[in-house]
Symmetry: C2
Subunit: 122 residues, 2 copies
DNA sequence: CCCAGCACTTACAAAATAGTCAGTACTGGA
DNA sequence: TCCAGTACTGACTATTTTGTAAGTGCTGGG
């Protein structure tokens, strides 16, 4: 990379949103601050380790903010920063699209799985 | 997974867009059909193998269409299907956001890199 | 005639990503 | 007292994803 910038904007977004669960985390935080355990339950199938790892990265990137209530046992919440909120807004059309094409996409994925069965993929 | 559907739309999108270069491929195809070699030059840094692999997956998923001109030496083009075009539209806000926050994101990534140097990440 | 280019394929290696499992320091409830 | 839950760390493994490098059959240009 010669410059610090990106070729198409999308690459920039991808640099922030890279990570299986990050878009989901942002999505769930869009409806308000949440505690760690709450997020773990909302973001289905995420392991505690990955959640926390992504949370940390998003915090470092200034997308979310960590609020430590300084209590014992621990009480921590995460919320979107303004930056994160603006990013969350760009996620919305995708989310709508996904919801709208839900069944179709499910069919595609099913197809993919059965094709895999036939040609021996995992 | 109990049902065939997704919890939040976003997951559905992610099922289609999973793969480092897929959003970029779709983005570049949004401006019209392209030949394989052309895409390889447009999607910076993509290896031929990954490009073709993702192209194949996107084709299987019905996002793009492969047009074989049945010529020798080969001439093949790819273009978005209607489905793909509708997906490309949802990418646009992200792309704008990325373009708009370009410098800021570049700074974040730089920060990440130097933090990595300090704490020993790759 | 040789070499570059086309659109691929394959085998293999490396790296990124994800996951499990145990442990920490602490508290409140059964 | 014991167990569950809180937020989190670290060691270790597994899986997935990506990359590298070579080869294929064919043609047109130098």
């Amino acid at each position: 990379m010669t410059t610090t910038n990106f070729r198409c904007g999308l690459e920039a977004v991808l640099a922030i949103l890279g990570g299986k669960w990050k878009p989901l985390i942002i999505y769930h935080l869009a409806s308000g601050p949440k505690r760690t355990g709450q997020l773990r339950r909302l973001v289905t199938n995420v392991s505690e380790k990955m959640l926390i790892q992504h949370l940390k990265e998003l915090t470092d990137d200034g997308v979310i903010r960590r609020i430590d209530f300084q209590k014992i046992p621990p009480h921590v919440e995460y919320e979107l920063t303004d930056f994160g909120r603006s990013l969350a807004l760009t996620l919305a059309p995708m989310c709508d699209w996904g919801t709208h094409h839900d069944g179709q996409i499910a069919a595609i994925v099913r197809n993919r799985t059965s094709a895999a069965k036939v040609d021996g993929r995992a």
